[in-house]
């Protein structure tokens, strides 16, 4: 169904090609997962499937891409609309109309489908994706998961045989991500549609994948194979695969269910150990850095936060979790003084953040927003770093050093908008860190980061906490929370539902538990590292 033949893609003004001699084939009816580090060319690969690369992005494509017998170099993307459907990362950016039903019908209108056929297909897609209650809603009022499903539906109505999705679940909370992935698997299994999906959070998807295409980047050849083949030898792998490698399970389990089936002996081995010993060394907590007291916040008539009482101390890493719209971003905005509370008090280092001038507030609290690109408005990375040094009154080059520690290897003359997600986040983080605020806030930093970048972020955050900062990170990524957070706060509908040590909050929750905890339940182990330490301790104790 999809065939890449010796495809080499070079973007304009790039010195090296992004993809070199890529050849693989995806047969019909498979769910194919494209993995790779940030900036390795996954998006390029996906957009080459329907011809958006090179027709929209510019560049040179050597070789040929053949979809269902049609070559993309002969056929424009609009003429491939009835064969390939493409869904981007931000569904809202691709919406043309205002209402759900109109959006679903848009593709069919373009193709000139007869009106009665259009009616039937819209009804079918509404049922298939569970959208029938939303059909008259304005698109702007939908949640992220609902928007993503509408975006999928809008390309499905044209009846394509191939569906291409670029990180569909990156912005979604775990529950919404499950909805979308369930819809995709239903498409694959019930309708036989070929799905090509790029995802960083492999742990969610790898169990459904029939084939993996790993794009290593830097012009190295792609690796294609079944999940077991590809992950058996690769460094980047979801936690359950790493656990399998550690425990020596064969074949490597890809899902929690497969792992639990073979995890019995491991659980028994670790049962006798007091796992509390292997919890991360508790950092010594310093003084209180920030407090909120009865914080009430609202956007117009909607109450975003109700009576939130929290306290943040230096040296701790706090994870803020909850559904989309639960108030996490609102809380962070209030802590950095972008919003004024309706009632209640917010105090950071003794002062009220929304009353401070901009220069003063960045010395007490720093926020890396969800879209880190809004912080960057110079032409080159070098200009950003020197501007940041100037604004914070630092020695020239400090920001650059911090940047190299977080994300190494960024060319100083690159335009910030051309950086990959992880690189942009690293640049924004280094700019915020330049003035060394005691309270550091990050809003969804893990979006678009691959495992390696996430690992580096975890190390940086741990180092910052050790240096005495208070770090608050709002995230959906349970693996990152398991790796770095000391304390976990769960928000729902503007209220604090849970606030305690991360281990206690996260371990037995079906939504927030990391894969290792789910596999080894009821043992309270969160990461593969802890399992490693526990195994070592178990073998020691068995000898002693």
């Amino acid at each position: 169904m999809i065939r890449f033949e010796h495809v080499t893609i070079t973007y304009p003004e790039a010195t090296t090609p992004t993809l070199v001699d890529v050849s693989f084939e995806v047969p019909e009816g498979e769910l194919c997962l494209v993995v790779g580090v940030t900036g390795s060319g996954k998006s390029t690969l996906l957009r080459a499937v329907n011809g958006l690369v090179p027709r929209f992005s510019g560049g040179i494509l050597a070789g040929s891409v053949v979809i269902d017998g049609r070559t993309t170099s002969d056929v424009a993307p609009r003429d491939l609309a009835d064969v390939v459907g493409v869904v981007g990362q931000d569904p809202a950016a691709g919406f043309v109309t205002d209402f759900v039903e109109d959006e679903l019908a848009y593709a069919m209108e373009n193709l000139g489908v007869a009106p009665d056929v259009m009616r039937r297909r819209v009804e079918d897609i509404l049922d298939l994706l569970g959208l029938h209650e939303l059909r008259h809603r304005p698109l702007a009022s939908l949640s992220g998961g609902q928007q993503q499903r509408v975006a999928i539906g809008s390309v499905l109505t044209a009846g394509p045989r191939v569906l291409v999705l670029d990180e569909p679940t990156s912005a979604l909370d775990p529950a919404a991500a499950e909805e979308v992935l369930a819809a995709l698997t239903r498409l694959v299994h019930d309708l036989g549609i070929t799905v090509l999906i790029a995802e960083h959070r492999l742990e969610r998807v790898v169990q459904y994948a029939d084939r993996i295409v790993m794009v290593p980047g830097d012009g190295r050849p792609v690796v294609v194979g079944t999940p077991a083949e590809v992950f058996g030898g690769s460094v980047v792998a979801p936690p359950v695969v790493e656990l399998g490698r550690l425990a020596g399970w064969s074949p490597l389990p890809l899902s929690v269910r497969d792992a639990r089936r073979v995890a019995g002996p491991l659980r028994d081995q670790l049962a006798s150990i007091d796992t509390a010993v292997f919890s991360r060394k508790v950092r010594s907590l310093g003084d209180v850095v920030a407090t909120t007291d009865g914080l009430q916040a609202s956007y117009g008539p909607i109450t975003a936060l109700r009576g939130v009482d929290l306290e943040f101390r230096a040296g701790e890493v706090v994870a803020l979790m909850g559904r989309n719209g639960a108030g996490k971003s609102t809380l962070l905005n209030h802590l950095v003084g972008l919003r004024e509370p309706v009632s209640g008090a917010v105090q950071v280092m003794g002062s009220v953040p929304h009353r401070l001038s901009a220069r003063d507030v960045v010395r007490v609290a720093g926020l890396v927003p969800q879209d880190s690109g809004v912080l960057l408005y110079h032409d080159t990375v070098a200009a950003e770093c020197s501007a940041s040094d100037r604004d914070a009154g630092l020695v020239h080059g400090t920001t650059r050093i911090v940047l190299d520690r977080i994300v190494p290897g960024i060319d100083a003359s690159t335009h910030p908008r051309d950086l990959s997600e992880g690189q942009r986040l690293g640049l924004a983080l280094s700019i915020v860190l330049a003035s060394e605020p005691p309270l550091l806030l990050l809003d969804e930093p893990t979006r678009g980061l691959d495992y390696g970048a996430k690992q580096r972020l975890v190390e940086v955050l741990a180092q910052l906490a050790a240096d005495g900062h208070a770090v608050v990170i709002a995230t959906h990524d349970v693996e990152v929370v398991a790796a770095v957070a000391d304390r976990c706060i769960v928000l729902a509908e503007g209220e604090v539902v849970a606030d305690g040590p991360a281990r206690d909050v996260v371990v037995h929750s079906p939504v927030f538990a990391p894969q290792v905890a789910k596999v080894l339940a009821p043992l309270a182990l969160l990461t593969v590292n802890e399992v490693q330490l526990a195994l070592a301790a178990a073998s020691d104790s068995s000898y002693s």
Binding site: Y299, G300, P301, G337, L338, R339, E340, V342, H354, R355, L356, S357, A358
Partner: protein
């Protein structure tokens, strides 16, 4: 330093307040306008043949309305130095009792002495019907393409306006039938010492019903020939019309109070009632819209 970012509610409150303030200011302007309209103005001038005070000049204004069925007239006026051409027209209307000229909304001069009664620079077959402006260019009329309204007059200036039917709006249009000549100025009497007199601006007055030009204290009979006599063509034969108003120091009220006539008062009251009714209606609509917007948030 207080740099708080106002919440959305506060911003809207501030905007509402700004709108209310603007509305109040507007209302104030409208009210004061109506009050000022009624104010009378004072004007006093020396005689064209009598003693000329310091700071005053003599100018002659020729108005040719013969193509409209009116008459040609040349009026000598004594005005403060630096009077503009438009102020001159207004003064002439005041002193002859024919009312101030009518202007269109774009600033085009529509009518002098109420002629033509309707229309303003209308186009008919053959060209435009409008008041053409001329000035004395060394003994002959020069078509004025510069701005008569800001041009400051000098002593001895002669200005001319002629209504042209079917003109081209250019220098080919016919000039007034009374030619510019020094004989339009009456001979001067010996000068009197200067009296302090602030120059006054002329005020528009609605066309008055009784063209009284002198009030109380007129000492000299007025050889009233302006505008009424049939003047012959030709330079130097026209009888200059001149006015004398009292030379007393006291200010003379010329022209009627604008809203004095009983007819206009009644209609104005009726109009104010109508305006009030409509604004009450607008207030209801605005209030209703406000309530609906609040409710739908």
């Amino acid at each position: 330093m207080n740099r708080q970012l106002p919440s959305i509610a506060t911003k809207r409150l501030l905007q509402m307040r700004a709108l209310q303030a603007a509305a109040v200011v507007l209302l104030g302007v409208v009210v004061s306008a109506s009050v000022l309209v009624g104010l009378a103005d004072t004007a006093s001038a020396s005689s064209c043949s009598g003693p000329i005070r310091d700071g005053e000049i003599r100018v002659v204004l020729v108005v040719d309305a013969s193509d409209l069925g009116g008459s040609s007239s040349a009026t000598c006026l004594v005005v403060p130095a630096g009077t503009t051409g438009s102020q001159l027209l207004a003064r002439r209307g005041n002193e002859l009792g024919t009312g101030s000229p009518r202007y269109g909304s774009s600033g085009l001069l529509c009518a002098i002495d109420g002629l033509p009664a309707t229309g303003c620079g209308d186009r008919n077959s053959g060209g435009y019907g409008y008041w053409a402006y001329f000035f004395d260019g060394g003994g002959n009329w020069s078509y004025g393409s510069n701005n008569p309204f800001s041009k400051r007059l000098n002593d001895g200036a002669i200005e001319g306006w002629r209504f042209v039917v079917g003109g081209c709006g250019c220098g080919l249009d016919p000039s007034p039938r009374i030619g510019p000549s020094r004989s339009l100025f009456p001979a001067l009497a010996p000068a009197l010492p200067a009296l302090p007199e602030p120059p006054s601006t002329s005020a528009p007055s609605s066309p008055t019903s009784n063209p009284s030009t002198n009030a109380g204290g007129a000492s000299t009979p007025i050889p009233q020939s302006a505008g009424d006599a049939n003047l012959e063509q030709g330079v130097g034969e026209a009888e200059p019309g001149s006015l004398t108003v009292t030379t007393a120091v006291e200010a003379v009220v010329v022209g009627d109070v604008a809203l004095a006539s009983s007819n206009s008062t009644d209609s104005n009251t009726g109009r104010w009632i109508g305006i009030a009714a409509v604004f009450i209606l607008i207030g209801f609509m605005a209030g209703g819209a406000w309530v609906q917007t609040r409710r739908s948030r």
